[in-house]
């Protein structure tokens, strides 16, 4: 719908702006209340925690609160997006109105006449000069009206989509109108376009086209480096919701039924086949084996569903720092993975990217000691020790094939041997080398989507993740400014000077008694020990937190560990305040 001259000229956008503010207030209230409600069940001693309410009814109550929090979180995000859309539109409308008023005030009434409908009539009594003058004026008026018309279309599409006022046909139309653009993007991706090129292309689309691609093809943009964080987050959340909903609602009861059937067969001795031809040795009956296979398949589906649901819960609401979570990717293939940012890296002054090590997988990503918990601790520390007024976003990045074995001893599982683990995966640097390329591509994407001055970017890896960030930092085109290895077995090089970030920007720590200290110090499988004297670079303090080498290896993010403050100082560009080890 085209905005007319009189409409724009006389419009008052005060009420629209007030409505936008109220949407923002609603977003804040929904977000706050979701954060309050999640506390009802966040710990065992919380009001609805297991210490205060156990049994089926307690479990049901926790489940209800979880559902409510997820729903409020989703609604709050929608309200925020609506408020932003209204604020942007109001600004554009007022800008267009100001453009119009400017033109009107500049019109030389002796040369042209302006009608009530905005038409410009030249006075041709003195020649043809006024015709050109009138055309110039008319085009400026038209431009102002087009500016308002565009903003109007974007507002309608954004509100229709985020507030869910659009009908199914309107949604389809929005997606349909952006099909050509979606095709262009697919071609760009297939051609291996850089994140910078993708970002430039994306920014040249109208907002309506961007919304159309998001509505019709979320999978196309969810994992693409160069797509802005906010948009990528919306696409991934949409896909995550779809992925969770594709599991059968009766999955749990189907599993329980099969388990009961198998238990009954075992109790009745029907799990074995005693028929002739077995040389007198009973073997599993075909029916039992079939049911056991079905059960294993369903249990695998349940594990995958639960891992996705846990991820969804982990990224709901705000982080303890008050920053929003951004879901930049997830994957269930093999051990699975996810990329979640605490805070928006597109607008943050500093960005930290945390890469977890061996045994990392989707199912432990958001749990205790998982990548997200550690990244959250780093974001919190950066807030505590950072420069006031500067935001630090920290990203938990698990987008590589993390090793699932670190020692040959893991090959023996109870009564069987897993021969594939006799040669531990953590001893092989291939996953780190491959992951480093993916990480650098991701960093380049963040560089492209970052607004304003470039962000100060630090990549921090724990254990095998340290090797990965070291491999990434070797690339002359890495977008990282600093690299941190926490209990890293090596950076894949013998000297810090071999890293592209420069040895002054290389940091490492290893607590006394860490289980990996010996491999890192002696084996040199992955390069010299980054904390060794001959390596160069910088070493920072850490506390041996834990009863044995394994606990110490995982204890660097424990409350009070000296490593946390130093990492925060590095992330926030204040490494000059780090005290030498031992002080």
């Amino acid at each position: 719908m085209t905005i007319t001259y009189n409409l724009l000229l006389e419009a008052d956008f005060t009420a629209l702006e007030a409505t936008g503010e109220s949407w923002r207030n609603l977003y804040q209230v929904l977000d706050d209340q979701a954060a309050i409600l999640v506390e009802l069940k966040s710990k065992d001693d919380a009001p609805f925690g297991i210490d205060n309410w156990d049994g089926q009814s307690g479990e049901a109550a926790r489940e209800r609160v979880r559902d409510v929090v997820l729903a409020l979180d989703e609604r709050s995000a929608a309200a925020r997006r609506v408020s932003v859309a209204i604020a942007d539109a109001a600004e554009e409308f007022k800008g267009a109105q100001a453009d119009l008023n400017d033109v009107i005030s500049e019109i030389g009434s002796e040369r042209v006449a302006l009608t009530d409908t905005g038409s410009v009539i030249p006075d041709t009594s003195t020649g043809t000069d006024n015709i050109y003058y009138a055309e110039g004026i008319q085009s400026r008026i038209t431009a102002a009206l087009e500016r308002a018309t565009d903003a109007n279309e974007v507002l309608k599409a954004a509100v229709g989509m985020w507030a869910e006022t659009f009908s199914e046909s309107e949604r389809l139309a929005l997606a349909h109108d952006a099909e050509d653009e979606a095709g262009e993007l697919q071609e760009l991706i297939d051609s291996g376009a850089s994140p910078e090129a993708i970002n430039e292309w994306w920014n040249n689309l109208s907002e309506t086209e961007q919304l159309g691609i998001l509505e019709g093809n979320p999978a196309l943009i969810a994992g693409v480096d160069g797509i802005p964080t906010d948009t990528r987050d919306a696409a991934n959340r949409d896909l995550l919701d779809t992925a969770i909903n594709r599991f059968s609602p009766s999955l749990d009861s189907d599993i329980a039924e099969l388990e009961a059937q198998l238990a009954e067969m075992e109790a009745n001795g029907e799990q074995y086949d005693y028929n002739e031809g077995n040389l007198g040795i009973p073997h599993q009956s075909a029916e039992y084996a079939e049911l056991a296979t079905q059960l294993a398949e369903l249990q695998e589906q349940r594990d995958e569903r639960d891992a996705l649901a846990n991820l969804q819960e982990a990224v709901s609401g705000s982080a303890p720092t008050g920053q929003d979570h951004y879901l930049l990717g997830f994957d269930t293939k093999d051990d699975g993975g996810a990329i979640v940012s605490i805070g928006n890296p597109d607008t943050a002054t500093n960005t930290g990217i945390f890469v977890p090590g061996t045994f990392s997988a989707l199912d432990n990503f958001g749990g205790n000691g998982g990548a997200l918990e550690r990244a959250t601790a780093m974001a919190s520390d950066a807030q505590d020790y950072g420069v006031p007024g500067e935001e630090t976003a920290v990203i938990a990045w698990l987008d590589y094939d993390s090793p699932q074995s670190a020692s040959p001893l893991e090959a023996f599982k109870g009564d069987t041997w897993d021969l594939s683990k006799l040669a531990p995966e953590a001893g092989d640097g291939a996953a780190a080398e491959e992951g480093a390329q993916t990480l650098n591509h991701f960093i380049n994407g963040l560089d492209a989507t970052h607004e304003g001055e470039p962000s100060n970017t630090t990549i921090a890896g724990h254990s095998y993740g340290g090797l990965l960030v070291g491999e990434a930092a070797q690339d002359p085109n890495t977008g990282a400014d600093q690299v941190i290895g926490v209990a890293a077995p090596g950076f894949g090089v013998d000297r810090a000077s071999e890293l592209a970030v420069g040895e002054d920007n290389v940091w490492a720590t290893m607590a006394e008694g860490d289980a990996i200290a010996f491999p890192a110090g002696e084996s040199m499988i992955h390069g010299n020990d980054p904390t060794g004297e001959n390596f160069g670079g910088n070493v920072f303090n850490s506390t041996a937190s834990g009863a044995d080498g394994g606990e110490i290896h995982g204890g660097y993010w424990d409350e009070g560990n000296a490593a946390r403050k130093d990492m925060a100082l590095i992330l926030t560009g204040q490494s000059e305040f780090i005290k030498p080890p031992g002080e």
């Binding site: 629209l16 207030n25 307690g58 049901a60 109007n152």
Partner: protein, 135 residues
């Protein structure tokens, strides 16, 4: 998940938190509805499709989405409050039933001798009304 147990007062406080959340959301939605109400019927809402969509969105959220969220929240609050209160009532009821029926619950059906408390030593009993009840 273990056996049923509940701390009624603490769970009740959780129910109140849920109730308070619903009220906060109601107030925020009302504020939005009032602000949006000023747009309704205006030339701006009539001429700008985007602004009309905003008005429609508020109406939909007020009558549908937010109403449903609040109903879910208050449902959970009621569930918690009822669980807390009924567990207390059940506890009181069971304890009253215990004193009423405990001695007569197995009058006929007992297959083993009823357990007997060792009788107190009469010599340790306090005198009643100045007289020893020891026999």
């Amino acid at each position: 998940m273990g056996e049923f147990s509940i701390s009624p007062e603490i769970v009740q406080s959780g129910a109140e938190t849920l109730g308070a959340a619903s009220e906060e959301i109601y107030r925020a939605m009302n504020t939005l509805a009032e602000a949006s109400g000023k747009l309704e019927g205006t030339a701006e809402a009539g001429g700008f499709a985007g602004i009309a969509e905003c008005v429609q969105a508020v109406q939909l959220w007020e009558s549908d989405y937010i109403a449903v969220h609040r109903a879910d929240i208050e449902d959970a609050a009621l569930c918690a409050a009822v669980s807390a209160a009924s567990s207390e009532e059940v506890d009181t009821y069971v304890s009253s039933m215990f004193s009423e029926y405990a001695d007569s619950y197995f009058p006929e059906g007992r297959t083993t001798p009823a357990p007997e408390r060792p009788a107190p030593d009469p010599s340790t009993q306090m005198p009643r009304g100045g007289e020893s009840v020891a026999v």
